[in-house]
């Protein structure tokens, strides 16, 4: 198991752009290809966005399917209330991109 400190990897505690998520994706991919399991450490981050989670977690789930849960663990993600929600959303969006949620229903009403 190799721990990737995301803040150290991307050089900032502000993981707010997609580009940083893709850096995490590349790093995790390279470790997994070497046969290692990966622990992604979020604890030194101060800010994240959905775009960051989609690019990192969403794409890792897309690549490995349910094997993702064996290959990649996360820690420090409970530092902020909504990070777990963003993590789960990134995975769920890949699992079922067409599945509408509360937000989709509310927004679709605006366009009726």
């Amino acid at each position: 198991m190799t721990t990737v400190n995301i803040a150290h990897l991307i050089g900032t505690s502000n993981a707010i752009i997609q580009k940083f998520g893709l850096q995490v994706l590349d790093k995790a991919n390279s470790l997994i290809e070497r046969g290692e399991n990966v622990e992604l450490y979020f604890g030194d981050l101060s800010n994240t966005t959905t775009g960051f989670f989609h690019a990192s977690i969403g794409n890792l789930y897309r690549a490995y399917g349910d094997q993702f849960f064996n290959l990649v663990t996360v820690s420090g993600i409970d530092k902020k209330e909504d990070w777990t929600e963003k993590y789960e959303e990134a995975i769920n969006l890949v699992k079922n991109p067409k599945k509408a949620n509360e937000i989709d229903f509310a927004i679709s009403k605006l366009f009726e």
């Binding site: 959905t50 969403g58 991109p97 927004i107 366009f111």
Partner: protein, 280 residues
Amino acid sequence: MAYIFKFPAEVRTNAQGNQVLANFHHYCISLSDVWVTIDWSGLNYMDANLSAVLLAMTYRLKKERGLKFFLNAQDLKGPLSIFWRNGLAHYIYNTNKKPDDERDSTIPIKAFKIADVDKFAEFIERDLLKHRGLDNVKFTDKEKVKGSYFEIFNNIEIHAKTQAPLFACGQLFPKQNQVIFTLVDLGVGFLHNVKAFTAETEKIVKAEDAINWAIKGNSTKEEASGGTGLKKILFYCMKNNGKFHIVSDDCYWQFDGAINHTRINNPFVGATIHLIFSYN
């Protein structure tokens, strides 16, 4: 010959106000290497957050048309003195002085390189959310508002396709418990990317349809797995009496409880996003 653009009595954060600024840009874009007077002698009020739009316009016009701008200091009195305090006038005059905030309502104007996440985060966290005017706002609300601005920043970083800076400015309205924050990029706008991406599918060719498409959570970037950032901001506004305006190409798109759009003549480039949050 004197080149003078006269502003009307009021410019607010709405389609009419945006049209005034678009007209100013349109007036200037045909000129080169001359002084232009920004005539505020008849202006009684302008939302200070619109400084970001005006600064983006003058930045582009200085760079691409060699224009220089003059503002009569006599006009920067009373309610318009905020444009000294938020720094716009310093930028126009090239004084190299920093914004001088003496009141609760002012948020300084700032320009960022489009990938400078740390400066942007510091601006949002220090200059906006730690502003003494927002002392009574709940932490959870501040976190939501901050998250929304970061989602917008991410969206611009992905889609704007420009090396030009990003301009930001806000204004607090303590009596109304409201904060308006404006971000302006000089990129390609919403329609450019969406039109190309949907050429074989929905064939979107109008700016309002491109913005609607993006706001519903679609994304032109496969690796983004869906552009849920804008959708979440809209949902937050729906739940919290917020307002969300997007100006791109010839469309002023706005959510003020319902979605409306207004056609803009002689549009400016890139995208302007206004977020208006209410707090208790």
